[in-house]
């Protein structure tokens, strides 16, 4: 019985309990994301715009006055975590917003236009999907150099957004094509709606659900990507706090000394945010497609 592969529980997804473990996970994830967003908004009120270094207290472990330790400039890790939340949320969220909006627009045009517009779009997407995104980002961001100061956050956000519209474009295109000649669209055509109105009023609202679900995964991916870039030293540079860049300081390049508090705390924040976003996306997806196995 235990190994019976054909055994499919009837109450397949959610149990009848009002508050299942899965929903508990969702609530926790939402709370974590909300908390990090609050940190992002109010963090700079608490610690100022940049964490100032206390040169007398460099590389201290989490003892004494600095609860979470200090880095090699003597800046407090806790302060930097707060400030890093802002960059993570701004870059992750902003780039997701830009990418998704571009994707919706391009996908809608491709889906509605069809024909050669669609072909060109698909070819372009093919080209862009062929190059690993990290490499593309490295090329663009490294060529900006290490300058830019705080504007770098915005530059990174825009670049990552603009380079990341393919997934949502693909989704919207597929949905628009699927819905294009169904009854809701036919009804709109009958009422004399032009292409834009058909899209805005009828097709897009129906096509947006998978995009919104996907946005949560996209944001998780972008937060990871920013952390990786900053870790490599091409993303955000020192005056701007970033979790990935803090992580890079955990292993001292010259002495090989390991400062665990610089790995565990910022890395843990990245993990928390990414995990929560993925969990939210997962939950939304299972709500959206209850019977789709994916």
């Amino acid at each position: 019985m235990h190994n019976d592969p054909t055994h499919i529980p009837v109450q397949a997804r959610t149990s009848d309990r009002a508050f299942s473990l899965r929903q508990f996970g969702l609530v926790v994830s939402v709370l974590v994301v909300a908390f990090i967003i609050l940190c992002a908004i109010f963090g700079s009120w608490i610690v100022g715009n940049t964490a100032s270094g206390d040169l007398a207290a460099r590389n201290q472990g989490p003892i004494g006055s600095h609860w979470l330790g200090t880095d090699d400039t003597g800046a407090d890790v806790g302060d930097q975590l707060l400030l890093g939340a802002r960059t993570a949320v701004v870059i992750g969220g902003g780039a997701t917003l830009i990418g998704t909006m571009m994707g919706v627009l391009i996908g809608a045009i491709m889906g509605m236009g069809g024909g050669w517009i669609d072909t060109i779009g698909m070819r372009f997407m093919e080209i862009k999907m062929a190059v690993p995104r990290l490499l593309l980002l490295l090329v663009v961001i490294a060529s900006i150099g290490t300058g830019g100061g705080t504007e770098r956050v915005w530059i990174l956000m825009v670049v990552m957004g603009v380079l990341g519209w393919m997934r949502s474009a693909r989704l919207v295109r597929a949905e628009v094509m699927r819905l294009k000649h169904t009854d809701i669209d036919a009804a709109a055509i009958v009422t004399g709606a032009k292409a834009w109105r058909r899209l805005r009023g009828h097709l897009l609202p129906a096509a947006l659900a998978p995009v919104i679900v996907d946005a949560s995964f996209t944001m998780a991916g972008l937060v990871l990507m920013e952390a990786s870039l900053s870790f490599l030293g091409v993303g955000l540079v020192p005056p701007t706090a970033s979790w990935g860049q803090m992580l890079a300081g955990a292993v001292d390049p010259s002495t090989g000394e390991f400062r665990w508090w610089l790995a565990v705390f910022p890395g843990g924040m990245i993990l928390l945010l990414v995990w929560s976003l993925n969990a939210i996306g997962e939950h939304l997806r299972s709500r959206l497609h209850p019977d789709e196995e994916q």
Partner: protein, 432 residues
């Protein structure tokens, strides 16, 4: 079928051409164009090289792009070059392979140029210390006299005259102009690297080993771990096992590689805080015979783990849904009616059927692995393609970046094509 393959190959070629255009345009229009590093970040010769890559800037992007193609497909070979300075005349033949032969020398001072031992720099050192000092003073004055003639068919011998001061080589640059045009020949070189002056294709070939090793091991590991997970999950959907594995896989998927790698560095390697099981890195070259198999395995274990764990979730999920789709299929009933054990049904009937769509899934992993290798190789100091890409980007090494982008795109596209054909071969019902 053949028509399909031809069509796909054409589409592939167009896509790859598109990649070159896209990456070139991105680099061209990015604020810091290739080769705009500050002084001191590259050695003198590299700066000259950079400016030769950049010299087409004024001519516009089309010229630059065509110049890249030219550099990629042709290389200059032995050229005769000369220099004349204050009555001093020297003619020599410069071989692209790295040798220089003096043909005529008005003072008969120098008869041989030797390449310095360090393969990464093409500095040329004179043998005789006394003359060396004399030459260096002249060469320094010389350097200002010659402009750079790049973009045309000339070869310039750029060199460094060195003198040894306190065990350090103090170097001065000199340049010589060609007396006649260099001989061009067709060869796919993909241009020359800024940092090492070697043909890019040799650079890539020289660094591919470790990345290939890591990638292959990672792909094998992903499948060995993820497919059993997926089968177990798919067999009893929403069972306790499915849910807990799902939870674990989501955690692994969300676990940043930079954190995972750093923690491994900190707690599992020599010099770290925890157990000292693994070396900190430095897998330079798989071809090096001085590493025994055991040592190689120790070097490779952590990087492969880093590359592997994130992809587990994806492959396991695809397996899960492939298995779950077939759970109610007719052939399962047949097998059960024949009296197969449940275990046999699961592993011998359901799994092989579920594996078919997995071919395409595995092909998707490649770009992830290539991207992941940049981070992992940087972290574990492995001198592979990822490290090469990282350094290329840091140096804004136009030719190298273009070649690496093209290379990774080609790998992905070709593997995708192969996966489709393989699926078709394995399951004739699939329509391409």
């Amino acid at each position: 079928m053949i028509v399909y393959v031809i069509k796909r190959v054409c589409a592939t070629l167009i896509a790859l051409w598109g990649v070159t255009v896209l990456v070139f345009a991105l680099m061209w229009w990015s604020p810091g164009l290739a080769g705009t590093l500050g002084e001191g970040e590259l050695d003198l010769v590299s700066q000259e090289h950079a400016s030769s890559q950049r010299s087409q800037t004024d001519e516009g992007i089309l010229h630059g792009y065509l110049g890249w193609w030219e550099r990629s497909l042709r290389e200059e070979t032995d050229a005769t070059v000369w220099t004349e300075h204050e009555g001093l005349r020297m003619v020599m033949r410069c071989e692209q392979a790295g040798g220089i032969e003096v043909i005529e020398d008005s003072e008969k001072h120098w008869h041989r140029f030797e390449r310095s031992d360090h393969p990464a720099s093409s500095t040329w050192l004179f043998g005789d210390a006394a003359k060396l000092r004399r030459m260096s003073a002249e060469a320094k004055a010389d350097a200002a006299d010659f402009g750079v003639d790049a973009g045309t068919n000339c070869v310039e011998v750029r060199g460094i005259v060195g003198e040894i001061v306190d065990d350090a080589v103090k170097a001065y640059e000199f340049r010589m102009r060609p007396a006649r045009e260099g001989v061009w020949r067709w060869r796919v070189t993909m241009g020359r690297s800024l940092a090492t002056h070697r043909p890019v294709i040799d650079e890539i070939a020289g660094h591919a080993g470790p990345t290939l090793l890591l990638g292959t091991l990672a792909i094998i590991a992903v499948h060995l771990l993820a497919i059993p997970c997926g089968v177990v999950m798919g067999a009893r959907r929403n069972g306790a096992m499915d849910r807990s594995l799902n939870w674990l896989l989501l955690l692994l998927w969300s676990f940043p590689v930079v954190l995972g790698g750093t923690l491994m560095m900190g707690y599992l390697t020599e010099g770290g805080l925890g157990v000292q099981w693994f070396p900190t890195g430095g897998l330079q070259n798989t071809a090096s015979a001085d590493l025994s198999r055991w040592e190689t395995a120790r070097h490779v274990f952590l990087p492969v783990t880093c590359l592997t764990y994130g992809s587990l979730a994806y492959v396991a999920r695809q397996t899960r849904s492939a298995v779950a789709r077939n759970v109610t299929a007719g052939f399962v009933k047949t097998a059960r009616a024949k009296g197969c054990s449940e275990r046999r049904i699961l592993w011998r009937h359901l799994l092989p059927n579920g594996l078919l769509p997995m071919i395409a899934v595995s092909a998707v992993l490649l770009p992830w692995l290539l991207a992941g290798s940049v981070i992992v190789e940087k972290m574990f100091a492995i001198n592979g393609l990822g490290m090469l890409a990282y350094r290329a980007v840091q140096n804004r090494d136009l030719d190298l970046i273009m070649a690496l982008a093209l290379f990774s795109a080609a790998v992905c596209v070709v593997v995708n094509l192969a996966a489709d054909l393989l699926t078709k071969w394995a399951d004739p019902r699939v329509r391409l």
